[in-house]
């Protein structure tokens, strides 16, 4: 099949006033001038913070109840984590819930906020929080241990409610 050569055509024929440039430029200038008086879009960040909805995937945290964390140190989150950011070591107690994580660390430099850990957790013990302000000044600071990962269940109600709806 022969390839036909296609003549490129100017799609829009400009009329006389459009060819003059100036009226169109004046139109553009009025458009930008109107924008000056419209309400601004900027959020003044440190004073005015963004409060995310329950579906927001912030930094993963461990759910803390009155008698300690929910986590039973099964290690599923650590296995599923695509970025290999989670490290869990199990310990045993004499309480009714026998296992607990003696060490639970998330390397926040590796974490990609995918939420797989939350999805795989059988105990709903690790969930994504609303916390998005993560700042560290050195690499050691970026590895979050249990001290920084535990968050009381009362602060996570939005997320838990969202998960309940989402899972049906």
């Amino acid at each position: 099949m022969a390839i036909k050569s296609v003549q490129a055509k100017q799609v829009k024929q400009l009329n006389f006033w459009e060819k003059l440039y100036l009226p169109e430029i004046a139109r553009g200038l009025t458009l930008t001038f109107k924008q000056v008086f419209t309400p601004k879009f900027t959020r003044e960040y440190p004073e005015e913070r963004f409060i995310p909805a329950g579906s927001y995937r912030g930094r993963p945290v461990l759910v803390e109840e009155e008698n300690g964390e929910r986590c039973v140190a099964c290690g599923l989150c650590s296995r599923v984590c695509p970025a290999i950011a989670i490290e869990v070591q199990a310990g045993e107690t004499t309480r009714e819930k026998e296992r607990y994580p003696s060490k639970f660390e998330i390397n926040m430099l590796r974490c990609i906020y995918c939420g797989y850990c939350e999805e795989v957790c059988p105990e709903e013990a690790i969930v994504m929080s609303k916390d998005y302000e993560l700042v560290f000044t050195n690499v050691e600071d970026a590895i979050f241990g249990k001290d920084r990962l535990l968050m009381p269940v009362s602060q996570l109600q939005d997320r838990l409610e969202f998960l309940r709806q989402y899972r049906g």
């Binding site: 100036l22 430029i25 553009g28 200038l29 458009l31 930008t32 001038f33 924008q35 000056v36 419209t38 309400p39 601004k40 879009f41 900027t42 003044e44």
Partner: protein, 352 residues
């Protein structure tokens, strides 16, 4: 020349220089604010009251930065280029009158650095065409192909638009019959039909329009900022500049914007004349107050024209290179020429 005259001259130069430099710094802030408003943003508002000290923070940052000169660059010219740019932007202020002459203690003070210069406009055109050297030398001496392209583009652009710029002034000069800037301003002080100020923009609207477009091209500002064209040329002629030398280019650009605005205010908008206001008996009697009013009027006109510069920059997209050349040579040049010829013919018809 007496010692007192030299003192007055030095004071005038000192004031103009400092007002110009601080004004250029504040135009940078104003541009950032206005561009923010056009884009529904707030703009810098952290340093000082509503960001009023932002320009000083910017300058401080540039001063603190290391000045890097590429190894392959031509050391001498690389050093010289920003100086040429800023020196020309400053030197041109010598012919612009800021207010009418007034008398203090029997001494007439003319608020122009070089009063009564009979070749004022020629000097303006000559000096402003030197501006192309700063940019071209910067592009060439950097030994960087993008810089060189930017420098060459700007050389071609500025030379092309200078023609239209000069021609657009010819009509105005014919009407005024003088090249002396102070005299041109004085001639614009009356009224037509008793109410319309005798500004050149009403006599030479086409000349003004061409001068305005050429001024955009001469200052290398959008929509004619092909010399820097970030998407194509990294930063154009100032890619290889850093620290204070980059700061000088930056200052030169904004200085040129103020200068061109002041020029347009002087040549087309009646300069320091404050119509109606300066005819009040109060200002007629008190010469010093009248000078203050005139400085205010001049600053206001310049400020409004600077606003137009910034407003246009944030509204209109950049021209392509061939479009730029087409506009310059095929549209603006013939119109400017026609304008000059028509003015000459009409003037001759009126006079004979």
């Amino acid at each position: 020349m007496e010692l007192l005259d030299i003192g007055i001259l030095a004071a005038k130069i000192f004031i103009v220089l400092h007002v110009f430099l601080i004004g250029a710094a504040y135009v940078v802030l104003y541009e950032r604010k206005l561009s923010a408003w056009v884009q529904k943003r707030v703009g810098p508002n952290r340093v000082g009251w509503r960001g009023s000290l932002q320009s000083f923070a910017d300058v401080l940052k540039l001063v603190k930065k290391e000045n890097i000169v590429p190894k392959a660059a031509h050391q001498g010219f690389h050093f010289l280029a920003p100086i040429i740019t800023i020196a020309i932007a400053i030197a041109l202020w010598c012919v612009i009158p800021f207010a009418g002459p007034f008398t203090v203690a029997g001494k007439v003070i003319d608020l122009t650095i070089a009063p009564g210069l009979d070749v004022g406009i020629l000097l303006l055109l000559a000096l402003s065409s030197l501006g192309v050297y700063g940019i071209t030398i910067a592009g060439w001496s950097s030994n960087n192909k993008y810089s060189l392209l930017g420098g060459l583009r700007s050389a071609a652009q500025m030379i092309s638009y200078e023609l239209s710029m000069g021609l657009s002034l010819i009509g105005m000069m014919l009407v005024m019959g003088s090249l002396n800037v102070s005299e041109i301003v004085v001639q614009q002080s009356g009224y037509w039909f008793g109410f319309l100020p005798k500004w050149n923009v009403f006599v030479q609207p086409i000349g003004f329009l061409i001068f305005l477009v050429a001024a955009f091209a001469e200052t290398n500002r959008a929509p004619f900022d092909l010399a820097e064209a970030e998407p194509e040329l990294v930063g154009g002629f100032h890619t290889e500049y850093s620290g204070l030398r980059f700061g000088l280019f930056f200052l030169g650009e904004y200085g040129n914007v103020i200068l061109m605005s002041a020029l347009m205010a002087t040549l087309f908008f009646g300069g320091y004349n404050a119509p109606w206001l300066q005819d009040l008996a109060f200002f007629q009697q008190n010469e010093v107050l009248r000078a203050v009013l005139q400085i205010g009027a001049f600053s206001f006109k310049t400020f409004m024209l600077v606003t137009v510069f910034i407003w246009v920059r944030w509204s209109i997209p950049r021209f392509r290179y061939d479009q730029l050349m087409n506009l310059g040579w095929r549209v603006m040049f013939p119109i400017a020429l026609l304008n000059a010829v028509t003015t000459a013919v009409v003037l001759q018809a009126i006079r004979s």
